[in-house]
Amino acid sequence: MGDKKKKIIKTINIDVNQCNGCRACEVICSCFHAAPKYSSNNPARSRIRVVRDPLRDVYVPVYAGEYAVAECAGRDKYTIDGKEYDECSFCRASCPSRDEFKEPDSGLPLKCDMCEGEEEPLCVKWCLVDALTYKEREEEIEEDDEKEDREELEIGLESLASKYGLEKLMDSVARLSKKD
């Protein structure tokens, strides 16, 4: 085991039952990320989106996560407490299958950066009804990141090998390494 290192874990808790659908979170997020800061407002540029369908009582604030090159092979559709949610309602990806989390003009992907430089995420600050709340906690993690990475890589490779066969995988790796 390597040395322990401290890391701050930032968590935004989302309580969909408190959400009233006002989209103030979208407003402030888009303002904050305007250049210059606060110079313009456009919820379509926000890194949080409120999936909102009042007649079916659907209110889901979703944060922009990673960019996905390709859409999922299948789709997921949740039913919770008898409420059916649209396809991909809870997904955070900026993905080719939908307009969410993309700049409206350029189509470039958006990602929540937890409002870098601010004391607390601004969407949380502007959500006065506590649908969004923020917590920071310190966690101790292993220093030996490299080892972890290696382990992860091996797991990944193993799964690929089992899917495509080891030989095919090695061919691909060889091809990829020639490309550079």
Binding site: G21, R23, S40, N41, N42, D57
Partner: protein, 673 residues
Amino acid sequence: MRYAETGFNLEIDLSRGNIEKVATDPRETGLYLGGLGTNAKILWDRVPPEVEPFSPDNLLIFGAGLLCGTPATGCNRTIVSTISPQTRLMAFSMMGGFWAPELKYAGFDKVILRGKSPDLVYLWINNDNVEIRDASHLKGKGSIETAEILKKELNQPKAQVAAIGMAGENRVYYASIEQGRSSASRGGIGAVMGDKGVKAIVVRGTKDINVARPEEYMGLCNEVLEYIKFREENPIPGVMAILSGLGSPQEMKVHDEKWHTENFMWGNSRTRRKGFWTEDVKKQWKKTMENARTRLISCFNCPMKCGATISMPGFPTYMMKCFTKLTYTMGAFSDLDFGLKIAQRATEYGVDGFSAPQVMAFALELLENGILTKKDFPGMPEDNEGRFYYLLDKIVRREGIGDVLANGTYWAAKEIGNGAENYAHNNIKKHEQLPLKLSMLNPIYFLMYSTGEKMNITQIEGQFPQAPFPTREQREEFVKDWIQVPDEKFKQYFLDWELRGENSIPYYPTVEMTCEIVDWQERMHYIDDALGQCAGLSSFPLKPPYHIHNYPKFISSGAGIDMDEEKLTKAAKRYRTLVRAINIRRGMRRKDEKPPENHWKKRFPELENDLLDGYYKLKGWNNDGIPTKEALHELDLDYVSEDFLKRGILTDGKDMPSKDASSKKALAGKETN
């Protein structure tokens, strides 16, 4: 670059199917701000008094407020203006919700409809792509239903839809325009939309709205949020729950309806039911509401949650706000269960929740009193609830007696005759009012009711407490942090206002004080309506976060228009006067400016005359309520006085003498009756 506004209006000629994107003149924004202000300017310029409400030349204007689409909390109003078929005066109804910001993000400040489409159509505004589309498949569909169908059809779950129901299609004089959580209901603007053949306007926008001085503007927005938090934690003591906090009256949240049910009138604004609110009723209503209400919901960018999603067994889900909760219940002498059910249907049909139940109660009163007979209501059920459903259906379809009732109590009474006029007793300027009958004349309310051109008292009153606080200590406590007053003297007026004795109504506040108080109240509403700010965070509640001291800063740093308190006061006065000018040109005069005769039992004709005289004078209007040439000149409205002179409304050199020397006598005569 234009700030806060987009600088473009969308002009749509429905007769020709023509669509134009028109750049607006920034000087107009400086003079009239936006929303109601610029709407009024357009109506003055383009709709002369000869134009009938249902003429193709009437305009229907959807104006987003100047600051809508910026991050200012609660700034989301669409101000819909036209000439009302019911009052035949200028109507301007505001709707909250999400439509106005979406329009701004699509790149427009207003949608201006003219002409008439031969077939039912809807408009689809998707940023710069604007289309007039066939809506024949939506004929007869409910307003909410229509919105759902269109969003699905266009595959645009984020689009915002303003739609009419059957009432609008059939030109019911109190038809509303519905927008899911909100509606523009007063004055029959839905009927004008129906007359133009437009079923819905769908909007989706993904463009930026800029502000002039970002850091400063955001600072102001954050201050407002902080103040809202402070007010939420510090409700005002000594006033009833719905007046102690911010927002539109929290009718969806608050269960206690003792005050409304026992002080407001039931039926055709007739019967006061003291002792109605028993333990049993309380329990029953609470249960009904809690079972019905799925969630409290807000408008765009606002934490106040004044609305609710309502699901009644056997009825589709809908959204409700404010006082519609009680109007049907009380009109029909029924209970909350009935009220919430019929309101669902009324929302889909798209009718005004104030007028519709009063019209129905009026019809039943005429039946009871033999002015209408059973033959007028073929097949009508015996029970009150059944009768209300029956009447609602007849009205929105304009079938049989419904065709007459669809024009509201004033016009229906005229048509029915035979003494029916006495039953249309709760109108001002032909428009149904809140069902409230009181004892002692209140001078402040007298002036607001008489001269308000917004037609609904909740959109005229506010800021100043509705009644004096019982003790001096309470009053002192109240004025301590009353930062919203435009002048310190208002604190004194309030401090000295007593429940009884010399300093009580009707002679205190004095005429002069009353005029100043009403002027302040009105000014704040007019500013809200130009900026697109919800009255619930500004002109309506006590101690709101927006007021005359921070508004100029919002306008300067937001819209980049150099503004201070004096300039803003003058701008508001300018377009307020323009609204009056439009109505004066359409024939409104002093004789029309009066509350329902039975609103107060104890009336004071001399005092009332003095109040009107004083207020007219303060406003720069002559004795007949007509803005004078000098006042118009001061407000840069010389074009109005020129028109008035041409039409003989004003005569050159001197103000027209009041034609109504007789009005004093008439009123005095009435009191002795």
